[in-house]
Symmetry: C2
Subunit: 279 residues, 2 copies
């Protein structure tokens, strides 16, 4: 029998001079490679002054004493003075800017501008408007509710209810500025040879989601337990017929079972060859 | 007079074995520090086999010849074999995994698991459910439309129309699993001494957005040009009275002018001290 020491609890800090969204995604993704280490993750955004940096160092050092182990600090801090202050903390500091900016400067033969806040399309009113317009479009064309502007959609997702169409449309709008509508396939639609009237004229823009019936049964049961709607038999019937309808109509589709919203959105983006409107 | 050579056009590639969202955010944020370099950005997700990696190397090399300059390649590729293949491309390869995993392994005293796909809460059905529930909540409680469950909101955003409440609620739901409702303040609300009935009982959960009247006028004019609603005079009146109402009711608020959706959401998260439900 092998005896393994229980791993020490660690704290990870994600520091940024802006929102911290980028550094927390990167750090979280790296740390997910160390699944056996018990970890707390703390995001500290808007560290944009020496005073705030000094206070963060204090927080990190206290955590170090509390944990009995050095915290892991990931940072995207543009200002070199602030980075230096964070370096003084008793931690493993993985400083994304220092690590990447030097090789980029060498390759490009220019100095970096050391400006904060350029990453989230902040100062780009056109990009902001595109996102907002795309979100409003998704809201108005969710669940087949609007008859208007249906052909303005860059893509229309189809599939039985609860396959993830709505959150995927919203994510496509938020992240890529894409106009995404969605139309739920219901048992009534299976009885006709033709596609439902609302989506017949946008056939080339249709993209389907399917799902394993067992998983659909679980998801629907959370909302409407013991209903016909959620029953395994009905889920099997709906999925089978929706797939048949999509195949007959030549609609490409993917299996949404156990895919995250991000994965669904990027899969649609690439498989339907959509062009993103914002970066 | 100083003559400066026109900088060479460059291409940046963001490679990932999954969606590529993390690496493209990081790369985009780093490259925004080199604003004078004309750049194209190309995301290539799901590079999860040697064959795909080999084909990507070909694409990068062709781009190198076309541009007359080495592409910049950012990657988050867990599999070391695939990373090695990408290394052979004629490019500056900034390999996020190699750069970060080695110091993390040294610090934590364990090997990384080299598993792909752990970053986007994929295999966590509870997290998926929380996000979906939060999104559905935001959709049902957008623009003050539902009378039900109003007190289940973690936060309710208030402000005049077109200050960014809806996209912020959706982002809070998607990114953090937070139940966010929103309630638009309309001129009618300014005439009463009390808060509107619908939000009176959730006073401690209210958070306000305000905006510069000139910017509001611009935004509204895009939707309804030459309307009273969009006129500068009306925008000034609404903003002034909304701020007065929020101050009187003790509702904390922030200026949403020229803030991105990400910035608004993280500001609400931190200033209203909300607890995120998902990571």
């Amino acid at each position: 029998m092998q005896i393994t020491a229980k791993p020490i609890h660690r704290t990870a800090f994600f520091l940024s001079d802006r929102t911290g969204i980028t550094v927390e995604m990167l750090g979280h993704s790296l740390l997910s490679q160390f699944e056996n280490i018990p970890l707390d993750e703390i995001t500290l955004p808007y560290i944009d002054s020496r005073a705030k940096a000094t206070s963060v160092v204090r927080t990190i050092n206290e955590q170090c004493i509390g944990d009995g182990a050095r915290p892991l600090v990931f940072s995207t801090l543009v200002n070199p003075e602030i980075r230096l202050i964070i370096n003084s903390a008793d931690a493993l500091h993985l400083d994304c800017f220092s690590i990447f900016i030097a090789p980029l400067e060498a390759e490009l033969g220019v100095r970096s501008s050391e400006n904060t806040g350029r990453s989230h399309r902040v100062s780009d009113p056109a990009g902001y408007r595109k996102r907002i317009d795309a979100i409003n479009y998704a809201l108005k064309h969710d669940d087949g509710i609007s008859q208007k502007d249906w052909n303005r959609a860059d893509v229309t997702l189809v599939g039985v209810s609860r396959t993830g169409k709505t959150p995927t449309c919203l994510y496509l709008a938020l992240q890529y500025g894409i106009y995404a509508a969605n139309y739920p396939l219901i048992p009534e639609d299976f009885q006709h040879a033709e596609l439902p009237a609302q989506i017949r004229n946008v056939r080339s823009k249709l993209f389907g989601f399917t799902i394993q019936p067992g998983r659909l049964h679980e998801i629907r049961s959370e909302r409407k337990p013991d209903s016909v709607y959620a029953s395994l038999g009905n889920c099997e019937y709906e999925v089978q017929n929706a797939e048949k309808l999509m195949r007959r109509a030549g609609i490409p589709y993917l299996d949404a079972t156990s895919k995250s919203i991000e994965e669904l959105a990027t899969a649609v983006l690439h498989e339907a060859k959509l062009e993103r409107k914002i970066y």
